[in-house]
Point group: C2
Chain length 462, copies 2
């Protein structure tokens, strides 16, 4: 509970407009897009909606003075509970700081506030022939602040990298309310430690991002989609790896296992060749027709060598949409198979994909659970979905144990707990297994250095 007097002090910063403390409001800011809403809500004591860096800084000064926990959030699309106010306190909702502040057309840099939606950034740039590549699945709803805080990825990471690869500078309000500027519009910068990258992916535990400078690239002139269906998952994985090694690097290479494909096919009434055990949707992009033809030709040849039973190249926008529909319908189609879908986000070395899928299937079989696997074959980032009915007796415990084993399997093949969703609340129990004692001590010491009072997003990551 926050004292009435203190609430008044906050109110003086943001005004009545920017302060929410009705019960229903508090509930609205208590969850994200993870499976945590199924658990008892962790309600904030107060929600503030600042409109400027100055307001955020003033709020943090007060919060620091009174040692009130502060959880920053955008639109709550996170998948690991990162923006859930686990220990109550303040939720700092940044969705009203949603301006694109500057397009620097000469340096190809965009300066934005944290509350701008990722899709709006993409669109704004695309209309000007420029490209902001990171494309988390949530991009229509997620904000850039959240993308940066979780270092969000997406299908295009295989060719273009993740959010962090496009963040050149940040403005961050630190735990004590001081305002830090990192990086800038320089491409090369070795001036002190790389604080920009330290805040990227730090999940709101080190500071509140209030502004970001994003690097843009020219929009590729041509894109082409192809769909390859395979008689084995190993073949599908090998085709993607070999394509990348050959230099035919797809802008996206989305992998789907047999259960995933069959689910979508059923959901969408698509006739499926019975030999199909896996599929890959490829996107290629580039600037010359000839170059693109050569790449797709190479990919097709390699797919055939790896046991593809079908390779279709979209010739029209409609065909492109049709090919992508297999992948785009996936989440809903799989969700329809069971009462609950528990989707994870592990990341492994690309070559370990066949091995990890084998292990995941063994785990699911051991617990008698259905498992669908899809993900980003080009970068080894998988989203295994356990299908269950969490209300059935004993099912929740089984799922929890299976999830634990999934993480152990990811680590065992040289991978890690999260490729693009972060650790948040849902994976913190496994973190020490991934980082080891020395790694945990190192990140704890950094957290303590930048937030000695521990008020920033407490209970997350660690």
């Amino acid at each position: 509970m926050i004292d009435e007097k203190v609430i008044n002090e906050f109110s003086q910063i943001v005004g009545a407009r920017g302060l929410l403390n009705e019960n229903l409001d508090l509930f609205t800011y208590s969850y994200d897009a993870s499976f945590l809403p199924l658990l008892p809500a962790a309600k904030p004591d107060l929600v503030l909606k600042p409109q400027s860096t100055q307001e955020v800084a003033a709020i943090m000064k007060l919060a620091h003075k009174y040692r009130i926990p502060v959880v920053a959030r955008g639109l709550g699309t996170g998948r690991t509970g990162g923006s859930v106010p686990a220990e109550g306190g303040l939720v700092l909702c940044l969705d009203e700081m949603n301006q694109i502040l500057e397009l620097d057309d000469q340096n190809l840099m965009l300066t934005v506030e944290p509350g701008v939606k990722t899709q709006d950034i993409y669109q704004f740039c695309a209309e000007r022939g420029l490209f902001y590549p990171p494309d988390p699945s949530s991009l229509k709803q997620s904000t850039i602040g959240g993308n940066i805080a979780e270092n969000a990825g997406g299908p295009r990471a295989v060719k273009y990298g993740v959010t962090g690869d496009y963040v050149m500078g940040l403005e961050v309000v630190l735990a004590d309310g001081s305002v830090l500027q990192t990086g800038g519009k320089m491409i090369k910068n070795v001036t002190g430690y790389d604080l920009t990258r330290l805040f990227v992916g730090s999940e709101g535990t080190l500071g509140i991002i209030t502004r970001a400078i994003l690097r843009l690239i020219p929009m590729p002139k041509i894109r082409r989609t192809a769909q390859a269906l395979f008689d084995s998952l190993d073949g599908a994985c090998a085709a993607v790896s070999r394509s990348i090694k050959s230099g035919a690097i797809p802008a996206a290479a989305e992998l789907m296992d047999q259960i995933s494909i069959e689910a979508v096919a059923k959901f969408r009434n698509i006739e499926l060749d019975p030999r199909v055990k896996a599929g890959v949707i490829f996107e290629f992009d580039g600037d010359s027709e000839a170059g693109l033809d050569a790449q797709i030709g190479e990919a097709e040849r390699l797919c055939a060598e790896c046991g593809s039973v079908q390779f279709r190249i979209a010739k029209t926008k409609e065909e492109e949409d049709e090919l992508w529909s297999l992948r785009r319908g996936m989440s809903s189609a799989i969700a329809a198979l069971a009462a609950n879908r528990i989707a994870e986000d592990i990341s492994v070395p690309r070559a370990a994909l066949p091995e990890i899928v084998k292990r995941l299937r063994e785990i699911a079989a051991r617990y008698g659970l259905q498992l669908a696997v899809f993900g980003h074959a080009g970068d080894g980032n998988l989203h295994p979905s356990l299908l269950a009915d969490l209300n059935a007796p004993g099912e929740k415990e089984k799922v929890e144990q299976a999830v634990g084993e999934i993480f152990q399997a990811a680590l065992a093949v040289g991978g890690t707990l999260s490729g693009e969703h972060g650790i948040g609340l849902t994976k913190k129990d496994y973190l020490a297994d991934a980082l080891g004692e020395t790694g945990m001590a190192a990140i704890r010491s950094i957290k303590k250095a930048l937030d000695p009072a521990g008020i920033l997003n407490p209970g997350k990551i660690f």
Copy 2:
């Protein structure tokens, strides 16, 4: 001075072979490639050459126990005194940990020890059709450990990024001798803070890098060189910016001002068109002839629009070498113009290049010093060279003041102190101007968190 008893303890770790403490040896490890050798030497008390992570860890445990400063180094090609033992103590020379440990051909990852030369990594990969892009000028002598510690760049950064963009994981021995593993062969990884990136560019002040996992890409199938000469430096800068924006992104775009070009022309007896005021050497690479032709064609067109008086495309390897000879001969040709050449390494937003060159010239004129400017036009990283005779009365002071003003000018146009050489000893006095009080406090707190006793490369950066 290190106690004889303690020296004996170190000797038990590395053996007589790995321990140097003769006066001449100590002198050999007292300097790097910066202008600091002109100053009184900062000699180490002891040089150790470990051959394994275990030895490094044991050394650090002892050094930590006795609070002895430790300066890691490779082959001493640094430009800012980063490996100079400013406060004496131990120099840890890692040049005997020089093995390429593993090529993971499936995941396109290379695991190396810190003492491998950058050129050897490039060559090893090139022979297998793979590409390690970072190309600091010192690559024939510099080691990968030093490249990572300084986040070295190079001409190819404009298209391919810098060293840090290829480091996927590190093994680091921390100040207390504990061994930290960061990252791995995963492309996507949001598991705890990005410690890998924190150690990249930390100049040996946070830990000793003992192993690195490097990401490789397929070697581009074709490369082509072009040389454009311009009647103005503004035109040369504009041509590079417009080329990048159009999607014709060069693999390198090396800028030379009039003094630099004239120096090389004189040095090499090349006849120069009197209209020439600036030049750019472009390298383009790709996988298809057609795609490359289109890119070079676009670059040529844009150069013409920006006032190029000549645009030559190399047709043979000999012509390529000839075109590059302008750039490759630059350092020696400029050095021959004066007794001393004080070369800096500022990094500015690309579009600020004309403005910064104008300001640099004003500064040089004010101090009556000659100035040659060349650098990486594609990424805004410039190497202004002041020409002087440091033995002439008052000249050293003039140069020092001019260098200070050069840094202020870089900051004033939105740039920073270093693009690829680091801060080391030579730029630390200017760091607070670049990072501000909050930035300084943040990096100091991180240093203190990871090296509370302050034994790692003391006197650097801060």
